[in-house]
Amino acid sequence: MRGKKKSDEQESEILMASYRHLNEFLCAFVNHSLPTYHYTIRERFLWEKLLNYEFYYTNNNLQGTQSESVFFVGKKT
């Protein structure tokens, strides 16, 4: 009985650990704590608001195939 309880606890811990990894990864990304994943925040330009489309501008400072995520401020238009 006790052994079963212990293994249940272990299983739950493993499960929650993988869930925590996912959660912490996203938290760290939002907090700019990940060295390899960056993001920039910018407002949508007027034409982007009008067309309801976000254009993709390449950043020349980043080398090779590295790109970065963009957060567009979602103000109501």
Binding site: I14, L15, S18, F25, V30, Y37, S67, F71
Partner: protein
């Protein structure tokens, strides 16, 4: 009697009526309903902030929406008294702002994420799902696909 049913439901008039009703609904919703009755999106954002939960909605592979729900008070696992004190501090602007950037109030974003980030996310989510099914068995399936 030249305004008969024929003219009322002629395609031109029908279209005008259709566009006008849409316009009236839009104006009513943005000018009256959202301002004086309730703005459900704003209410939900407030709920996120008060409960310290951020929401990332990936509507597409690399595209989605993000609600920044980080509470400026640090912890939100507090009793009602502390919650009232915290909200009071916030209304007097004694604490930080709710926005993602420092000193800004922008909480909602349209997100265009990086391909590498998506892959990492997929990997972590896959690990979680596999463990869920392996450990919980049949009930794991139900839990995963009940969302």
């Amino acid at each position: 009697m030249w305004i008969g049913t024929g003219t009322l439901f002629s395609s031109k008039n029908f279209h005008y009526a259709f566009y006008n009703s849409g316009l009236i609904q839009y104006l009513f919703y943005t000018l009256i309903y959202q301002r004086s009755i309730e703005d459900r999106i704003l209410n939900f954002i407030d709920l996120c902030s008060v409960s310290n939960i951020s929401v990332l909605i990936l509507a597409d592979n690399l595209y989605g929406y993000y609600i920044h729900g980080l509470s400026p008070h640090g912890t939100t696992d507090v009793n009602v008294k502390d919650m009232i004190v915290n909200l009071g501090r916030e209304s007097k602007q004694m604490s930080g702002t709710r926005g993602l950037e420092a000193k800004s109030d922008e909480q909602t974003f349209i997100v265009r994420i990086d391909r590498r980030l998506r892959m990492e996310y997929e990997r972590l989510l896959f690990t979680y799902q596999v463990k869920m099914i392996r450990i919980k068995g049949q009930s794991g399936f139900v839990l995963l696909f009940s969302f």
